[in-house]
């Protein structure tokens, strides 16, 4: 094969060596400096506008220390019944809400994947996901508490709804990122739509779905502690009561248990994900 004439190994002897520098992000130096100075100026103004009351910080420091020392001696025993009931309620809330959330997320995710769905369905599903994602759990919980009253049912509904926003979005993105060749090859055999889904799509996204579901279970448990504070049941309600009564020991015990449960789910999901890659 004819090659072009070989490239000269030595640079042309034109004196100085040719230098090179990475081109800057903003090509125009005037604009670049304007942006840098603008950012610095804004930062200065922002710091100046902060109203720091050092006396109050000093006072609060002492209060904070009292709280911290309470936390250093967690008290599992005196409120154990309440703590246990709250934890179990949170766990069952998180589990059922995750299961229901997954069941609802899968069809929404299929609809929200541009490579599977026609445009109108895609827009509708993306809209639902956006609504679910833009409403913070606490706000949704307040809404559901108002609708169905205090207790774990409101918590269950909140978490299931929030799960859709999270799981459907990430699953839809996983579906959009699959290898189209594998789908095409299943389609070429004369398979129907559901068969293409079963053989061409599901194997490619199943590990991701399992990993995301376990992660969401963990999030739902943590969230159940937060939404309990607004009356949606679970260990959050117990925690709130303990804080209201200045029982920092019991509150500390609850927080430690929450951390422990989250840790356990973390280890379990890591182990499972290793197995299903």
């Amino acid at each position: 094969m004819p090659e072009p004439a070989s490239i000269p190994a030595v640079p042309p002897a034109s004196g100085s060596p040719r230098t090179w520098r990475r081109p800057p992000l903003v090509a125009d130096w005037r604009l670049r400096w304007l942006l840098i100075l603008g950012a610095l100026g804004y930062l200065t103004l922002a710091i100046a506008s902060l109203d720091l009351d050092w006396a109050r910080i000093g006072e609060g420091w002492a209060r904070g220390l009292r709280l911290l020392s309470g936390f250093l001696s967690p008290d599992f025993t005196s409120r154990w019944e309440d703590i246990q009931a709250g934890l179990l309620e949170s766990l069952s809330m998180a589990l059922t809400a995750t299961a229901a959330g997954i069941a609802l997320s899968i069809p929404v995710a299929l609809g929200a994947a541009r490579n599977l769905s026609p445009l109108p369905l895609y827009l509708a599903c993306r809209g639902l996901i956006a609504v679910s994602r833009s409403l913070q759990e606490v706000i949704v919980a307040i809404l559901f508490v108002a609708m169905v009253g205090f207790g774990p049912l409101a918590g269950f509904l909140t978490l299931a709804f929030a799960t859709i926003g999270f799981l459907a979005k990430l699953l839809a993105e996983a579906i959009e990122a699959i290898d189209p060749g594998q789908v095409e090859s299943v389609r070429a055999t004369g398979a129907g739509w559901w068969q293409v889904l079963d053989y061409g799509v599901v194997p490619q996204v199943l590990p991701r779905l399992i990993g995301l579901s376990l992660y969401r279970l963990d999030i739902n448990f943590r969230e159940s502690a937060v939404i309990g504070i607004v009356g949606a049941g679970g260990v959050g309600a117990t925690l709130n009561t303990a804080m209201d009564r200045y029982e920092y020991g019991s509150a500390a015990a609850i927080l430690i248990l929450i951390v422990a449960v989250v840790l356990v789910t973390e280890y379990v999901s890591g182990w499972v994900r290793e197995r299903v890659h």
Binding site: Q182, A188, G190, A191, Q204
Partner: protein, 289 residues
């Protein structure tokens, strides 16, 4: 067997991939489709089973006009056309057997395929095909655990599992080394002869096309510029297909040290085809699979 009549495809981007392509493939004939990248080879193959929807023209498989079928009819027609892909296109996380059985999807109901309870006849066929392509000990391995050559053999077996009348083969050797490429081409050739299958095979390697195909179609910018025997691929024809290039033997004499024996290319063979040991010209390297 397969008849294509002024088939055209213009993509929405405005690219004219195929322009008025017409030809006919009789039963048992293997047609090699060659041409530069972007000449429309993949598009042509995919317009036959309508993975890509043609813009104009007609395609018949025997008496069935494929270009007029509705969704259901198209799915049933696709069962009669086995497809083999570049990069194998196996479902990586499914087992070899599941990949093979996926060739039967057009014949079984969704529920049977969902629970993986295929008819015993399908399973027998699948095992027989695995034996045929020499992979019987890998039944339950995941497809991504196989080597390139093994994967492509699963791909061939999957296409045959459909019990097709024609094979549509898209660059079957694009990601394989020269030796495996020849083995795969030989296997495709053999199964086509065993079953009297017609085949359209996209190839970028002219040498492979000349060796294994009955007939060559040269495609350039969506048009057929050569249709004839492999022996007719003279340097002039190759220039018409691919554009100006030195189609002589691989190296110009005098550039190598004297004493180094150069493999003597066939007269008129394109130079610069992927290297590697060139097996003797007889097709007798059997049993390599």
């Amino acid at each position: 067997m397969l008849r294509i009549e002024s088939l055209s495809k213009r993509y929405r981007t405005g690219d004219q991939a195929l322009a008025e392509v017409s030809f006919e493939v009789p039963a048992g004939q293997m047609v090699g489709l060659i041409g530069p990248s972007g000449a429309g080879k993949s598009t042509l193959i995919r317009c036959v089973n309508r993975l890509v929807e043609p813009s104009a023209g007609r395609v018949w498989l025997k008496d069935l006009e494929l270009t007029r079928l509705g969704r259901r009819g198209l799915r049933q027609a696709r069962r009669r056309m086995g497809m083999i892909f570049q990069e194998y296109a196996l479902v990586e996380r499914l087992t070899v057997m599941e990949n093979l059985l996926s060739g039967r999807l057009g014949y079984v109901s969704f529920w049977r395929s969902l629970t993986r309870r295929f008819p015993q006849a399908d399973i027998d066929t699948a095992f027989r095909l695995l034996d045929r392509v020499g992979l019987s000990e890998h039944v339950d391995k995941r497809a991504d655990a196989l080597s390139g050559g093994q994967r492509q053999r699963v791909g061939i077996a999957r296409a045959l599992a459909q019990d097709p009348e024609i094979l549509l083969v898209d660059e079957p050797t694009a990601s394989l080394d020269p030796k495996t490429s020849r083995q795969i081409m030989r296997l495709i050739r053999e199964v086509c002869e065993e079953r009297r299958l017609a085949a359209i095979v996209n190839l970028h390697d002219v040498e492979l096309a000349k060796r294994f195909m009955d007939r060559i179609l040269g495609l350039r910018a969506g048009r057929v510029v050569y249709d004839g025997a492999p022996a007719g691929l003279t340097p002039e024809v190759l220039t018409a297909i691919y554009g100006e290039e030195d189609w002589g033997p691989a190296a110009r004499p005098g550039e190598h040290e004297p004493g180094e024996a150069l493999p003597q290319g066939h007269p008129g063979l394109p130079g610069g085809a992927p290297g590697g040991p060139r097996p003797p010209d007889s097709d007798a390297v059997a049993g390599a699979l």
